[in-house]
């Protein structure tokens, strides 16, 4: 398989989502950043081009026209499609991209661990519109006030009550946390079993005791809603537990599976970072091509031109790492360290590029609503969520020294 040329399908994804980002996302990006509001109209419109809130469950055929080969030994293309799509959408606006795809965070564990009944229930919960006329969305509730990087210290607990589980605890930094109609919440069902006792539950918004908390005011990705969610003795039928109860036979359905799922998203998160870096770099590139400094073309100054070259190199290197990690996933190769490298390098690149672009643009980039200033604020979360830069370096270095990376 040739890694260095896009196949026609990937080219199609790039072109379609690139055009979507340019025509539909970018024109509203600053507005939603400034208002810190969700792009509900766009989220509705996006469904018509296949970006549905249940797309992760329903497969990518509507988006790409191609079904995955069910043979688990044959190469797939979903990871590479994912990174190509992620870069384009984040180029438009990573906050809006997350608003469009945030439900996928909840759909992913259901696709991986859910049975048919749970999948149908998830689809049912996301059908139609909510009381405000918005399309229905979903949230995955994993992180807690006391557990950021260290999710094994989870405090949210589920205790059994006949055929039901009673969930109690608080979740933090939850994408779509206030507006979701369906939640996948992770809770400890058997403290003695440690990580293996953690299970996911599908919970409908209107379930008594589910209380959305404070919406966070964030540095970046402000078009995506982030909130606390409280579970005050929420009663959930055992049929809505993903992967079945802990049996002592292994971690299937437990936190280990969830961690694998997070590992699988890292190349796409790295690709989003590449998309933001590219947005800032392209803005600067355009300015350098057309701008002047004391009456001389900006492009006549080595100081500026070499910085452009540095940015170009870093973005290209990050993109290659991202695509390599995705290619490995599609070829069923162990890519844990490579996915971490792709994510961590992408985070570093986007912070470097947005920082330098702001400096080179000077005072203009301080104006409210400046695209590059927004990119700078959006960039930082890429070194924090989905595993901090420190967690990625831990995974990479432990792999290098022959230790268990997780």
């Amino acid at each position: 398989m040739d890694m260095f040329h896009d196949n026609p399908m990937l080219q199609g994804v790039r072109q379609m989502l690139g055009a979507f980002a340019k025509q539909m996302i970018r024109p509203i990006a600053i507005k939603h950043d400034q208002e810190e509001s969700m792009p509900w109209d766009l989220m509705k419109a996006a469904q018509s081009v296949g970006m549905t809130q249940t797309a992760v469950l329903d497969g990518r055929k509507r988006l790409t026209g191609i079904d995955e080969d069910p043979d688990p030994k044959k190469p797939r293309s979903q990871a590479r499609i994912g990174v190509a799509a992620s870069e384009e959408l984040a180029w438009g606006c990573p906050g809006i991209a997350l608003a469009l795809g945030g439900s996928g965070l909840a759909a992913a564990p259901i696709a991986r661990m859910g049975n048919d009944e749970q999948k149908d229930e998830f689809r049912k919960l996301l059908k139609g519109t909510d009381e405000q006329g918005h399309i229905k969305i979903a949230a995955m509730a994993l992180s807690e006030p006391g557990t950021g990087s260290d999710i094994s210290g989870m405090k949210t607990a589920a205790r059994r009550d006949g055929n039901y589980w009673i969930i109690r605890g608080s979740k933090q930094w939850i994408t779509n946390g206030r507006s979701a109609s369906a939640y996948v919440v992770w809770a400890q069902t058997e403290p003695a079993a440690g990580r293996a006792g953690v299970r996911g539950f599908l919970v409908a918004r209107e379930t008594p005791g589910l209380v959305p908390g404070k919406k966070e005011t964030k540095l970046g990705i402000r078009a995506s809603e982030t909130a606390q969610v409280h579970f005050e003795d929420v009663r959930v039928h055992q049929d809505m537990m993903l992967g079945g109860a802990h049996s002592g036979d292994g971690p299937a359905g437990g936190l280990a599976d969830t961690k694998k799922m997070l590992d699988a998203t890292r190349p796409a998160v790295g690709a989003q970072a590449v998309g933001i870096a590219r947005a800032a770099y392209e803005y600067l590139l355009d300015r350098v091509r057309r701008g002047t400094l004391h009456g001389t073309p900006m492009a006549s100054h080595q100081h500026i031109m070499f910085e452009l070259a540095e940015m170009h190199m870093e973005i290209a290197a990050s993109r290659l790492l991202v695509h390599r990690a995705a290619w490995m996933a599609d070829h069923h190769l162990d890519n844990v360290a490579d996915a971490s490298a792709a994510k961590a390098h992408g985070a570093r690149t986007v912070q470097y590029v947005t920082n330098r672009a702001m400096v080179l643009l000077g005072e203009e980039a301080l104006e409210p609503g400046h695209l590059v200033e927004k990119c700078y604020r959006d960039a930082k979360i890429y070194d924090i969520f989905e595993g901090t830069g420190q967690i990625q370096r831990r995974i990479i270095s432990r792999t290098l020294t022959g230790q268990n990376p997780t």
Binding site: K218, I304, V359, G362, I384
Partner: protein
């Protein structure tokens, strides 16, 4: 060589440190959200000697004798630890006042000092990219855009450096657009659009070679002050981050005991410490008319700009997810860091262009 502070310096540092720790830090989050300083800032800061410290005593100010840029750098570091946005307001009168004192006509001095003595503000803008169009026939006709500039929304006068011209503009009648950028949000920013705006001849402070010399001096003052404040922001960011890191436990230990995070703090404080010393050296060089004062101020700002950008990003990293939301000061500090590098032009670029011009002239 003696690195110890004298009694007056020590007293001012302690006073401003208390003000920064108790008041500025206490007000910072609300001022950031509101995009404006608290009303009591002006009165409290005036009591501490801000606003009139560079206005001559003969004009109802507090300056008797030489101005001490060393004292200003010492206090600037403490202000930076408190809040960069409010610090910008507290320091905003210094450049216009010192420039008017050094090169102003009596008309310019009377207009500016009269306004400042009555509680007004002034600010400074630098046309670092040569974008203003200026017709000079004794008086000036100025067209183009000024800013974004802190304090411009509230200022009665703005000192402008453009090419080899240093001049004062009264803002009355000037088309100003108040803005609230994402950093230094309390600093009453604005841009101004000038369309053949008339500057009277007696508001032109310097032109030609004397103009270049005057502008170099003004830029040295503000670069030094910016560097000191930036070093303070970087230091303050790590103070906040490690107060958090002492309490935050992950993987069974306070995150402040992780080597990688200790390294982030150590690098930041090493850089901030160097930036503070570079700013203090530049200030001393200005105060003693040392020949390398302008270069020292510029170098201090380059380094302090790098340090504050890195330190605030790393401080946020230590806060993790909490750093990204506005419950903690980290994300504000990261936003505040930007103006230190962006205002008055890219310092590295300025240095390169100046060195190139010098090399070409040889």
């Amino acid at each position: 060589m003696d690195f110890r502070l004298d009694d007056e310096q020590e007293m001012i540092v302690q006073t401003i440190r208390r003000f920064a720790d108790r008041d500025l830090r206490g007000w910072a989050a609300d001022a950031d959200r509101a995009g404006a300083p608290p009303e009591r800032l002006h009165a409290m800061a005036a009591e501490l000697g801000f606003f009139l410290d560079a206005v001559p005593a003969a004009n109802a100010g507090a300056l008797d004798g030489a101005y001490s840029h060393t004292l200003r750098a010492l206090r600037g570091f403490e202000l930076g630890r408190g809040c960069a946005g409010m610090a910008a307001l507290l320091e905003t009168n210094v450049e216009p006042a010192l420039a008017a004192r050094a090169w102003g006509t009596s008309a310019a001095q009377q207009a500016l000092f009269g306004s400042l003595a009555a509680g007004g503000l002034a600010t400074f803008a630098h046309d670092s990219r040569g974008l203003l169009e200026i017709e000079d026939t004794g008086g000036l006709r100025v067209s183009g855009k000024l800013g974004p500039t802190p304090a411009l929304a509230a200022a009665s006068h703005v000192l402008v450096a453009a090419g080899d011209l240093l001049f004062l503009i009264a803002t009355e009648g000037l088309a100003r657009q108040p803005i609230t950028p994402s950093g230094w949000r309390a600093a009453r920013w604005a841009t101004a659009t000038l369309d053949a705006h008339r500057v009277p001849a007696d508001f032109v402070l310097a032109r030609g070679e004397p103009g270049r010399t005057a502008i170099a001096a003004v830029l040295s003052w503000i670069r030094t002050s910016l560097a000191a404040r930036a070093a303070g922001v970087a230091t303050g960011a790590m103070e906040h981050a490690f107060a958090y890191a002492r309490d935050r436990v992950q993987f069974g230990q306070p995150i402040g005991t992780f080597e990688s995070l200790i390294r982030l703090r150590d690098d930041a404080l090493t850089g901030a410490s160097a930036a503070r010393l570079m700013a203090l050296y530049a200030a001393w060089a200005i105060d003693t008319s040392a020949p390398d004062a302008a270069d020292a101020a510029s170098r201090a700002r380059v380094h302090a700009g790098d340090v504050v950008a890195r330190a605030t990003v790393d401080a946020l990293q230590i806060f993790g997810g909490y750093g990204f939301v506005n419950d903690y000061p980290a994300e504000k500090l990261m936003r505040d860091a930007r103006a230190f590098e962006a205002l008055y032009g890219d310092e590295r670029l300025g240095r390169v262009l100046a060195a190139k011009a010098q090399a070409t002239a040889r």
